[in-house]
């Protein structure tokens, strides 16, 4: 069990989830309510990371992160170090990779919010943002929590992309999933079992808590 790897994975997943809530919710709301012709196209672009094998996504990110590439150069100037093999690079990759896992459940839940309630909020003087925060979002909560849990969990478990752009740097990019894989490859199955067990127990506890907290709407009746 590698405590640094655990800390790293949790930090990565937390920041990724936070970023996806901040970016993904407005995007999802647009997807859920827009009648624009561009909507199906944007929806498909958002879903793309899903169908790309993580290693392919990772490969293209690796190419894009290279110090010679524009993206890599820009970030290197900004961060003072190259994007590849750094925590920031991993974060960027994770956000991209988990985007559809978060946005799709968000959008599906937001699309099911009763228009009448949104209109009632407008009529009560709330603008779009307030209505979103006080009506749409709470009503879409199961979907939003589901999306956030998906994104978080997916990031904790992510392997292919991290393998490609991470470089296994302890404390920077050596996440728990990479550490586990290493143990497996060393045929040190006992260590692998131990680490998996800790990961499992932790995740399981977190998941049960999330779902139990996911309070159901009170015995709604007609």
């Amino acid at each position: 069990m590698d405590p640094a790897a655990l800390r790293l994975s949790l930090a990565l997943a937390t920041l990724t989830t936070a970023a996806l809530l901040a970016l993904g919710l407005p995007l999802a709301q647009w997807l859920a309510t827009s009648r624009s012709r561009a909507r199906p196209v944007v929806e498909a672009v958002v879903a793309l990371p899903l169908v790309l094998p993580p290693t392919v996504l990772g490969f293209y990110l690796l190419v894009a992160f290279a110090p010679r590439a524009p993206l890599g150069r820009g970030f290197a100037a900004l961060l003072g170090h190259p994007l590849a093999f750094s925590f920031e690079g991993l974060l960027l990759a994770s956000i991209l990779y988990s985007l559809p896992f978060a946005v799709q459940p968000f959008a599906a839940a937001l699309a099911r919010v009763d228009v009448r309630l949104v209109e009632a909020s407008y009529a009560l003087g709330a603008g779009r943002v307030e209505t979103f925060l006080r009506v749409s979002l709470p009503l879409a909560r199961p979907g939003v929590v589901a999306g956030a849990v998906l994104a978080f969990a997916h990031t904790v478990g992510e392997f292919g992309v991290v393998l490609m752009v991470g470089g296994n740097v302890p404390g920077q990019t050596r996440t728990l999933s990479i550490a586990l894989f290493d143990a497996v490859e060393q045929l040190d199955w006992a260590a692998a079992h131990r680490t998996s067990l800790v990961l499992l127990a932790l995740s399981f506890a977190a998941l049960v808590a999330t779902h139990a907290l996911q309070r159901r709407p009170p015995s709604a009746r007609p």
Binding site: E119, L124, G125, A126, L139
Partner: protein, 363 residues
């Protein structure tokens, strides 16, 4: 300049077209009742006003402010119109408690003040006991009251109520009607109320607008529209009713003596009569005409009048008397003949005190 100028056309794809023109002057009382049969477009008009529905053509101006203008491409968002809307089907927020629902539109004040306002409105509408519940735990009537409280708590500039009391039972409706009128008066809020109920129209409305056949057919003071419908369609919609502005001058033994024009009539004292303003309503069907003063009867009111007009309405004759005010009686053709009811004829109108309903207009 009128306070509200509305002229909208809304074409539903695969549905009907709703057209309405409604100019409401300010000042002469705040409440306009929108009356009309199902499907006439009442809800559509309210939604256009609230900014929730975009008309296909026309314009809406409120106090000189342009809310919508199809030609100029203006369409103010709902939140900037300051309109309170009570939906026909409540639309309470299911995830919020009653207290949070009521407080939803209260903005720009601190927590304590918000709580105070919520409590005040809740008390006024009799929902204090429900504040901790959620909409899913309310009965139909309770939900409507909460929705009303929510709309009022936001203190809008213009209040739109879509059948605000329709889910209540009769006693609750009657009780709340006065409350609502009082609230509207107190707030000085211009309001448009959709209702199917004549008593509600009288209790709440200063003006009555009749919407039928795809347009507004008549707008005027409530008693005028009720007493003198502009055409047959309006008459069919509003029914036959004498609605007479009245003033309570005396109260005794559970009865109230009411001045109607220059005449004094007795009516049942509906209680809560601190305010003297009222409409005296009696259905034309309830007026008994006599050729001469009767023997002792239980009819408390006897009004002398002159027939000014008669007109046949199916098996009945509509007899209009001048008793100092205009009074319409509906009698059978047979009776009209026996009484010789023709313009110029002197007749007595008998009306039981109990047949006169006083619809109060709290001020």
């Amino acid at each position: 300049m009128n306070e509200l100028e509305l002229e909208v056309v809304r074409r539903y794809r695969g549905g009907p077209t709703v057209a309405a023109r409604l100019d409401l002057p300010g000042g002469e009382g705040p409440v306009t009742v929108l009356f009309g049969p199902s499907g006439a477009g009442k809800t559509t008009v309210l939604r256009c006003l609230a900014g929730l529905e975009r008309p296909d053509a026309g314009a809406i101006r409120f106090r000189g402010e342009t809310w919508f203008d199809a030609a100029a491409g203006v369409d103010l968002p709902p939140a900037r119109r300051g309109v309170g809307l009570l939906f026909q089907d409540h639309a309470l927020f299911p995830h919020l408690t009653v207290a949070a629902n009521v407080g939803y539109g209260v903005r720009g004040v601190d927590r304590a003040e918000r709580a105070r306002r919520v409590a005040e409105v809740a008390a006024r509408l009799g929902v204090e006991a429900l504040l901790a519940r959620r909409p899913g735990q309310l009965s139909g009537g309770e939900r409507q009251r909460v929705a009303l409280a929510r709309a009022l708590a936001a203190r809008p500039r213009l209040l739109l109520l879509d059948e605000p009391l329709s889910a209540l039972d009769a006693p609750a409706r009657e009780a709340l009607r006065g409350e609502l009128r009082a609230t509207l008066e107190r707030a000085g809020l211009p309001s448009i109320v959709v209702t199917h109920d004549r008593a509600e129209a009288m209790a709440l409305g200063d003006r009555l607008a009749v919407l039928a056949g795809g347009g507004v057919r008549q707008v005027g003071p409530v008693h005028e529209v009720f007493s003198a419908p502009a055409d047959l369609e309006v008459a069919r919609v509003v029914g036959t009713e004498n609605v007479l502005p009245a003033r309570v001058v005396e109260r005794r033994d559970g009865l109230a003596r009411v001045a109607v024009g220059r005449a004094l009539v007795w009516a049942l004292d509906p209680g809560r009569l601190e305010e003297a303003e009222a409409y005296a309503c009696l259905r034309a069907e309830d007026v008994v005409l006599e050729s001469s003063p009767a023997a002792a009867t239980s009819a408390r009111n006897e009004l002398a009048g002159v027939v000014v007009a008669t007109s046949a309405e199916g098996p009945l004759v509509r007899v209009t008397l001048d008793c100092g005010f205009r009074l319409v009686a509906l009698v059978t053709r047979d009776s009209a003949e026996r009484l010789g009811a023709a313009p110029g004829r002197q007749l007595a109108a008998l009306v039981k005190a109990q047949a006169i309903r006083l619809v109060l207009r709290p001020r």
